[in-house]
Symmetry: D2
Subunit: 240 residues, 4 copies
């Protein structure tokens, strides 16, 4: 939130033994502090950023919109959140809330509080900008997915139409999650990372928000509603 | 389409040995001719119909709308189609096209033309108002589902929200079919019949429409895109 | 609906003194009969049509869709209707219903039945595929607008975003009509003709449909709801 | 954001001569500090809040949703912003940014910087939770409108259908603003206050956000696109 806050966070992370060091910045941003989370993901934080200036052909007729509506695709507005796999969700969740200042929003905890499967948290009103999800294969530093925001549920359906038309694998969705109430689909970008097209959910503005916790029974499959294929062989109905 | 057409159809069905006889009509309609399709479903046809007059409390401020928008539920506009199970799809499809004058729109035929799994047809521009689907249990006179039309895909999503909130089973969807391009979900009404909330699809106005036929490979699951649950245990991604 | 029907209609129009003559067909269609409506619009009717075959790059992964979803624009599905200006709406309406076999669906009639401002009619379940609108300038053979169908109201809003981004004039809408219940916007294509992006409305399948007639009071502006600009100078509210 | 922050803000407002005093709280919340903005609107701020517990009949099947989806109306998710009239927008804007800590997001300034017509600002990622709009009648302490958030543009259209069906005045919209990019309509609640049904817009998370300023030319009517009625008498088109 400020150059001073950046310095303070860097010192705290360094003191926790997770620091890597300062960089001279990268494309579009100033110097940044590089560090690891407990699971080994490499992260950077920075304050200075060069604001995007669209080239003339991409300027919008809307003065408050950074780039024109091209009429193509689904019009992603912003990135929404990153979901990272972690062998120890609790340790990484504490790292993000205690050292980075994120607020915990929702958790999935099984086995009567013993197994933390996932935790979502955020430093802003956005429901979660970071989530840790249990890495059942016990890998290290792995990504579960990143998420791109669209403004309406109809845009997620449009994404499905475009992906299906182009023969691009839709791994799940369109569907509505119970956790976070997000409406989304999952696919893969050409580099091999899972990407979610996402909308819905809800904002959190309470400074004393009480995290919502879901157990096995409450979570179910994690979907609130979602398609299953109707199998012709099992279709039954009463005679009319 | 006319009293004379009703008489002609009745005679043709009687000649085919499928007639039951005339009734004195039923609630809201005049005399009707009752008959069986080859699979044993009981059907009636009629010409005279008493137009619905909404009671004062349900009159719409729109003169061309039969009932007011109550602000509740999803606002079904009309019934769209009936899908009937049949042990011999081809025989029933011929009945509907040859004796009732329906136009064949799409078919699913497996085994190099030998097994007709389903056929959709219609007497109007609506894609299909009647479908026969193979009854793999070899029942008789059974219903697969009936279908209610809503005007926008968003209304199907709203139906999912309402059904899920009320703990009512959603059997499949929201999803998009490849056959007919319908966007829909399936649930059950309290009487036990499967009901589809349906939109999308396309109208057919060509008098010489050539039916679209799908084989095993082309049809796949019958869904163009639809949700699958994302299983945490199988989630894989490259390290970031 | 058939080659024989084409011949019958041509003879009837010729007998009415409105025929021009047969052509050898045009791009994509067989021989056609050319004629005038009473207002002088030139029309053609035909039966033979060459079905569109998309080139390989534009083939859809959906076997029942004539062209792929390109992900661009709003994905118009079909033309919906043509609205023609006419100095004498009643004469042209009678022409279309009596000589062409269209069914009258809705009318706007002012002055206690004396002035027919507009009439919409159709030969199919589509609410109106042809409308005559009073030409208050007493021109001859003029077009009011043609209409392109999209599947969801959200697509009309998307059209507004795309048109506004490109500085293309939106003459009216997005708004909902009371007549026909269409949800639409009006713009102009580069050739100078008014084009409507249209959805909603309702299908008519009753052979004995009773036309809906709107008088001055009922019709109002013709819009059921539509935007007006909120003028800051007139904004009033009670003190809080 | 904390009890201490509440005390600090109260002291600062008191020092500015705008304080009224502490209350013992009100329905659902703890003690609050009451004060005036420069235009005379009475405001309160508090930290303690009793979280809403839905009665059993209104509990949602979604654990993270405070109340069930009733299937009625448009499902407002939250209040979005309050727009207050002020005789001196600049003075009130400085009050909110300097004393309350709001971040300025967008402004409308005419006459080459001399006349501030409106300013929107927020203490969170929501685009604006408070706006001051010039009170051209030079009243005092007046409300322009309050705004209720729905999740999709389709919900604003649904609101229009419900309001029109019930004969409730829609003052403007559905339409898209250029300022804030909101998609909305305006009506009045039974108490006589203008209420906006609102969605779209964009979130702001940059600590160094640069306010977007619109002059006369850029702002136009304040609408990006919106309906106008199509007047039959002015409809012109080239002959076809």
């Amino acid at each position: 939130m400020s150059p001073a806050a950046l310095e303070r966070r860097a010192r705290a992370i360094e003191a926790a033994g997770l620091g890597i060091g300062w960089t001279n910045g990268d494309f579009g941003r100033g110097r940044s502090y590089r560090f690891n989370d407990p699971d080994g993901h490499i992260m950077e934080m920075y304050y200075e950023e060069r604001k995007y200036q669209a080239p003339p052909a991409l300027r919008s007729s809307l003065k408050n919109q950074p780039q024109r509506h091209t009429g193509q695709g689904v019009g992603v507005r912003r990135s929404d959140h990153w979901a990272l796999l972690a062998s120890d969700v609790a340790a990484n969740r504490r790292f993000a809330t205690e050292l980075l200042g994120f607020q915990l929003r929702e958790q999935v905890i099984f086995d009567q509080g013993k197994t933390e499967l996932g935790s979502g948290m955020s430093p802003t009103a956005v429901h979660h900008q970071l989530a840790y999800v249990l890495d059942v294969r016990r890998g290290r530093g792995r990504l579960h997915h990143f998420s791109l925001w669209v403004d309406n549920r109809e845009d997620v359906l449009r994404a499905a139409d475009i992906l299906a038309e182009n023969g691009i694998f839709i791994e799940a969705g369109p569907a509505k999650h119970n956790n976070s109430q997000g409406f989304d689909l999952y696919s893969y970008e050409p580099g091999g990372n899972r990407v979610e097209i996402y909308t819905g959910s809800y904002l959190v503005m309470a400074p004393d928000w009480e995290p919502v916790t879901w157990n096995e029974h409450e979570r179910g499959s994690g979907t609130y509603w979602a398609a299953r294929c109707l199998r012709a062989s099992s279709s039954t109905a009463r005679p009319i």
